[in-house]
């Protein structure tokens, strides 16, 4: 270590600057959290369901009504990226070669310069007794500036524990044996959000395309450079703005902006991150590499009356006034379902709310009622009955509960509706604010003033999020914020669903001047 910086100096510096905590403060908070876990679970109110189903009946009787869909809406622009998460949570296999939780051990994956990553992962998964398509958002393969494979790290979250597969051969020869260490911890897997292929898909794509093709695109800086591909937490290890995207064109990667291939609405992608690592973190550059999955997702068949097995889902959607044109099974799999909504219903600006609520309610219903559905495909149906596949998402692993949230939002754990309304309206911008359903949803509508609209807009967004965050910190349970903001002329400028329970944000905004602070500036992020 650097002899000019003493351990004691660092320790002293940090301790001098530590915040003050008391054990009382933490203990009181712990007791509150324990108490909140013992409260009554959420239940859907019968009255709401009856009302919603009655509405559904009226709509169906009248054909495809556009009016009803004013409360329902658009998912994404034509051409939005389609991502798929058909991977399922892995579980230990009783016949596996190891016992989860056993001591660390090693597995020989063969010479580093001949390794095929998908095959290596298959060996690891087989030994562990886990699904080769295990979901993870934390894996990395490291290469030298010459392209030699020198290190790997794969973290697989399991219920109740994690598996870490790692190898570091930076000091070895390029043809050294890859002796990966497999260890397990008793640390519960973290809650995460992912909509992407499982590990086997992605590693197979790396093998198919070839590491050299990826490294050839990554910036090659000076001495000490190395490369990493895989997936990891986006953010502070990246250099600002270094997130250009490239698409595999069959023989090489092309910049996404120049991509002239099939539209992304009709194709699905496997996305892999690539990074040039430099000694100084500021020199680090990250790029995205997108490859056609090769999996065909045919449009669904004719609209049919929803079968009884979809009743719980229909109920759940109806509580949000979402009435599908059709619901059925898709992909010739009994656990894959499709939902069709009117293209008009999915049109901007309000459609973003519909898609967010549709997916949210499907996830909650599937898990509340233990429904046997893994995958949800959403189609839009045009006036001429043309169907377009808009998105596919895994209801088992594509969505997860956010940190600190349970599936069932406890009744009474949060502030009552009047309190929420008073605090929100205290900011002087709220026109209407209501808490609906079980008390976990806050709907806010705001009309901006003619003067200082931008200032009011920015200030309001800050205040509202801060207020909700504080409520939830204090044990409140506002799971869902539905926010709509119009300008002084009544024109929509923002439609947003903040789903605190599922940790997702769905936002539509009318123009750059109304880009909310939680949306990154438009760059070359992989969106057409």
């Amino acid at each position: 270590m650097d002899s000019h910086v003493s351990d004691q100096g660092i320790r002293s510096l940090l301790h001098r600057n530590s915040p003050a905590f008391t054990s009382d403060e933490i203990w009181v908070g712990v007791q509150k959290r324990i108490a909140s876990r013992t409260r009554a679970p959420r239940s859907r109110r019968r009255l709401i369901r009856v009302f919603a189903m009655a509405t559904a009946g009226v709509v169906l009787a009248g054909g495809v009504s556009y009016g009803v869909f004013e409360a329902v809406n658009y998912l994404s622009k034509p051409g939005d990226i389609l991502v798929i998460s058909d991977d399922r949570p892995i579980s230990p296999n009783a016949g596996a070669g190891v016992t989860i939780g056993a001591a660390d051990y090693q597995i020989d994956l063969g010479p580093a310069d001949q390794i095929k990553f998908a095959e290596a992962w298959r060996q690891i998964a087989e030994l562990l007794g886990v699904d080769t398509n295990a979901w993870t958002d934390d894996y990395s393969l490291d290469f030298t500036s010459s392209g030699d494979f020198v290190a790997m790290s794969i973290t697989i979250p399991l219920p109740g524990q994690k598996i870490l597969v790692s190898w570091d051969g930076r000091d070895g020869a390029r043809d050294q044996e890859v002796l990966a260490t497999v260890s397990t911890t008793e640390i519960p897997g973290h809650d995460s959000y992912s909509t992407d292929y499982g590990l086997s898909y992605r590693l197979a794509k790396v093998d198919e395309v070839g590491v050299a093709q990826i490294l050839a695109v990554l910036p090659q800086a000076g001495a000490g450079v190395s490369y990493r591909i895989g997936q990891w937490e986006p953010d502070d290890e990246l250099s600002p703005g270094g997130e250009d995207s490239y698409v595999w064109a069959g023989a090489s990667f092309e910049p996404f902006a120049q991509w002239g291939g099939p539209t992304v609405a009709s194709i699905s992608w496997v996305t892999i991150e690539g990074m040039t690592l430099t000694p100084e973190p500021s020199g680090t550059v990250q790029l995205w590499f997108m490859m056609d999955s090769g999996i065909s997702l045919p449009n669904s068949t004719v609209t049919t009356e929803p079968a009884a097995e979809f009743a719980e889902l229909m109920d759940a959607w109806a509580t949000r006034m979402i009435i599908p044109v059709g619901v059925g099974h898709d992909y010739s799999e009994p656990n894959g379902i499709y939902v069709k909504l009117s293209a008009e219903a999915l049109a901007p600006p309000d459609g973003i709310m519909v898609s967010a609520l549709l997916v949210r309610e499907a996830f909650l219903a599937v898990h509340e009622h233990d429904l046997p559905f893994d995958m949800l495909a959403l189609y839009s149906v045009d006036a001429d009955r043309t169907e377009t596949l808009r998105s596919v998402i895994s209801l088992q692993s594509g969505i997860r509960l956010a940190d600190g949230w349970e599936l069932e939002v406890p009744l009474g754990a949060g502030p009552d509706s009047s309190e929420v309304y008073d605090v929100a309206s205290g900011r002087a911008y709220v026109l209407t604010g209501t808490v609906g359903g079980d008390g976990s949803t806050l709907k806010v509508h705001l009309q901006l003033p003619e003067e200082d609209a931008q200032e009011a807009y920015a200030g309001y967004l800050k205040q509202l999020i801060a207020v909700l965050k504080q409520f939830n910190r204090e044990g409140g349970r506002i799971a869902l914020l539905q926010l709509s903001i119009d300008d002084a002329g009544g024109n929509p400028v923002l439609r947003d669903v903040h789903d605190f329970q599922l940790g997702s944000i769905s936002t539509w905004y009318s123009g750059e001047e109304y880009r909310p602070p939680w949306i990154n500036p438009p760059a070359s992020f992989p969106r057409p």
């Binding site: 650097d2 910086v5 915040p19 712990v30 973190p281 940190d403 967004l461 801060a466 940790g503 939680w518």
Partner: protein, 177 residues
Amino acid sequence: MRNEVTRAAATTDAATRARAGSLERIVREHSVPLARTLAFVTLDRQAAADIAQETFLRLYLHWDTVAEHPDLTAWLYRVALNRAKDHRRALGRAGRLVERLAAGAANTDEARQWEPQPDLMNALRALPRRQREATALHYVGDLPISEVARAMGISEGAAKTHLVRARQALKSILEEK
């Protein structure tokens, strides 16, 4: 039959009270250093308090399997790091902007509770996450490097590397003093 039920209920109550008592002792022993460590991981005092509470809640929920863990301290820090990671990704990339935004608009009373020197915060903010985690665990949580590595799920060599790089980044601040 009634007596049996009563005895069973009494036994359950006693076990619950014992668990609560043990939990409180553990919280009082570990909560302050854990929260301070988390403050330097998250750079957010309130988040640190939240995550520390969530960590002890986890302990409570998994009491039967964790309470007798041979290295409870390591377990707590490892769970806390996981929760910190969850905290960061809970709302995804956009959500972190919300977090920062909300932090900027937060009650100033809260901000006043922690006012570290700005150059230190800037330096810590610029550190990659793992370097910051290693720094906090080692220098604030006072964990030895072997425990830092275990808590982060990495090798000791990697933990040392993170610490060396972090120290380099913090060097200028120390030299100015």
